[in-house]
Symmetry: C2
Subunit: 414 residues, 2 copies
């Protein structure tokens, strides 16, 4: 224990991570807890049950973000905001997002149990739909909070089964009538802990990565329109086969991206074929492109060639591209980064600066207040997968760095 600083409880935190992994958990360690689903409701209920005995104030907003606030001594000051997200990919793991939320809850719990009441409110947040796997695009909740996207556009989104995001938000709010609505506010600072989702920290044997910034990201939806036909009769020469057009377009795009810059990340993760019947030449394929790079120049140049490559490769089918997300790279607040590094150093916990290859809600918070992130290692760099794993020691180290940093921030004078 550092003099004057409370300690987090590593066993309590780990037990809560394992408890949360049961909500939406499936055999093999995986988690399916998508935004606004019944599993998401259950995660809210669990968070509220943990928050109640600590006297945390629950609140939500129009985008169904969840806030749990430890009241400060001066309620008029802007709060410190900490957290991440509770939603997962459909075949996600036990740490992505939920580690940041539970490390944040542990921070305020350790303070409350130590009888420490900082000057400023400390709000723990769980952002709605960070993953974007159920409703596109991801990070809707932080986009709303930061004023990047209006609530009408968020409510209009539909999932693959046709469920409307707005109706699902209303369903969540109706399930928690005791959680009041709260308007968006400007925090004094935002800090988001997360697993790295890459191999760097584990390979280096370093528990804390202080994130300097997030690489930019473009996501597109591509639609290829051909002509349905009978697999046994339609002559090959006259076909407009949307699946074959997809194969050509996907190969051409990847070939281009691999040659353009070695740092580009190019992924086609979602493909829908219509009518998707074995003996029908497909008339339509819709797929998503996920494109990332730390340099905005490289990212923009790569994004610009997508439409012409699609149009050319799709022939004789028609190909169109719709940009869903265009998020430039961003840098985090240097002072907050220095504070995180100092907190790690103060506990003799190893740390290093690094960039984030993955997008996070902190991207949007950085536009409205000083923001920062730090990572802990995850096994083999695997994420968005049931094999996603982190060690109890790294989880505890992350939560302690957060607590020490937040306590100092929350005591700051205006």
């Amino acid at each position: 224990m550092t003099a004057g600083q409370p300690d987090i409880d590593p066993d309590r935190l780990w037990a809560r991570l394992m408890r949360m992994a049961e909500i939406g958990g499936f055999p093999g360690g995986g988690v399916n807890r998508q935004a606004l689903s019944d599993q998401d409701h259950a995660a809210w209920r669990q968070m509220l049950d943990w928050a109640a005995p600590l006297g945390l104030e629950p609140a939500t907003d129009a985008a169904a973000n969840l806030f749990l606030t430890l009241p400060g001594r001066d309620r008029a000051l802007p709060p410190v905001l900490i957290g991440s997200h509770l939603d997962s990919q459909p075949t996600g793991g036990r740490f992505d997002g939920v580690f940041g939320v539970l490390a944040s809850l542990e921070t305020v719990e350790a303070l409350a149990r130590a009888g420490l009441w900082p000057r400023r409110d400390i709000a723990v947040v769980a952002w709605m739909n960070e993953e974007g796997s159920r409703f596109a695009p991801g990070m809707m909740g932080s986009e709303y909070f930061a004023g990047v996207r209006g609530i009408a556009a968020i409510r209009d989104a539909r999932d693959a089964e046709g469920a409307i995001c707005g109706a699902e938000i209303d369903r969540l709010h109706a399930a928690f009538p005791a959680v009041p609505l709260r308007a968006p506010f400007v925090p004094t600072a935002y800090i988001e802990p997360h697993i790295e989702q890459g191999p760097e920290l584990e390979a280096a044997g370093v528990p804390i990565g202080v994130v300097s910034g997030i690489q930019g990201k473009v996501t597109c939806e591509v639609t290829l329109i051909g002509q349905r036909g009978h697999a046994g009769t339609a002559p090959m020469a006259g076909r407009k086969d949307a699946v074959m057009a997809f194969a050509r377009v996907a190969t051409a795009l990847q070939d281009h991206m691999l040659q353009a810059d070695p740092g580009i990340r190019f992924t086609i993760g979602r493909v829908e074929v219509h009518p998707n019947a074995p003996s029908v030449v497909a008339g339509e394929v819709v797929f998503r492109i996920d494109l990332r790079h730390p340099s905005n120049d490289v990212l923009d140049a790569a994004a610009e060639v997508i439409a012409p490559i699609v149009a050319q490769g799709a022939l004789p089918c028609a190909g169109t591209v719709r940009v869903l997300v265009h998020a430039p790279s961003n840098d985090f607040d240097p002072d907050l980064c220095a504070r995180l590094a100092a907190a790690a150093g103060g506990r003799d916990i190893g740390f290093r600066p690094m960039a984030s290859a993955a997008g996070h809600d902190a991207r949007h918070l950085a536009a409205i207040c000083p923001s920062a992130m730090f990572f802990i290692p995850c096994k083999d760099g695997i994420s968005h997968d049931p094999a996603e794993s982190a060690t109890p020691a790294d989880v505890a180290a992350g939560a302690q760095v957060l607590l020490d940093t937040v306590l100092a921030l929350a005591e700051q004078a205006p």
Copy 2:
């Protein structure tokens, strides 16, 4: 009217086709009436309602084929069997399959209303699951009837939602308790009318195509196994991306087939990506190959290269191929073909010999009894699509050719 031959009623037949198109019909003229679905139940009910006033005897069998028999004067003789299938593709049209069933019903109805009672039974059949879009493979009903596939294997099939074919057969039987079970029998002949599903007859302006045989077909399921990863973090160089492996394999396979023989039909109509999330590098892709050619030698040679091309193209993913159907080409009975041609000629209806590029239940019947098929034109060769269309005149011509041919067959002495 030809001397001594009854005429079919073209208006009644057309009205019934349009009525049947409402069962499973969706806006734009399309039909979704898949095997053993609620829509299939409704089609059975409609068929039984039409059959009852004619005194046709209903029956089914273990594979849920439907038989409606016009009793002959000598019940001991093997019957003439005529028909096709009532099930459709998920986005199918108004004529594929159902034309043959309703032309067959019209044949026995015209005979019954004319007071003509041929020597032999004439059984109208609707085969279960010709399309194979819900349960794989297609033509299960005729496979069972012809002894090609055992009932246990058919009952074990599952659809994409996990429904078990055997349970769905039992559900159909339970819905029609008044339809007795009948053992498979050996007909004296089988004739199947169908739309062409290709452009040949329409282009030639000929209403009847007498089918000499069906081209061979191989269907395979290919599984590509990669490694899931985060789209923003997993370095491109180390990825095992199953979607990109699919793009390579699909392109390599099509390139090979186009060069190997101009008559090959090669289709990938069904593709499933797992987990199919926008920001997850896909860990698995499962897809179907539909491969056809009139020559068994060409077909077998083409099928043999699939596995090595998949294994090579999938790298660094693993690719495996499972053959679901291997159906060689078959020839139909020359005497029956001659009878169909003579019937068309006797009515001054144009006809020509042709091969079938599509597979049909008649393929399996040909192994147990003299069998034949004839086609009528369909608009622009389009099938398995809501745009599937045929003219009332061609529909009527087909039914009349069937009636005239069947009447002679049913009067034949043993």
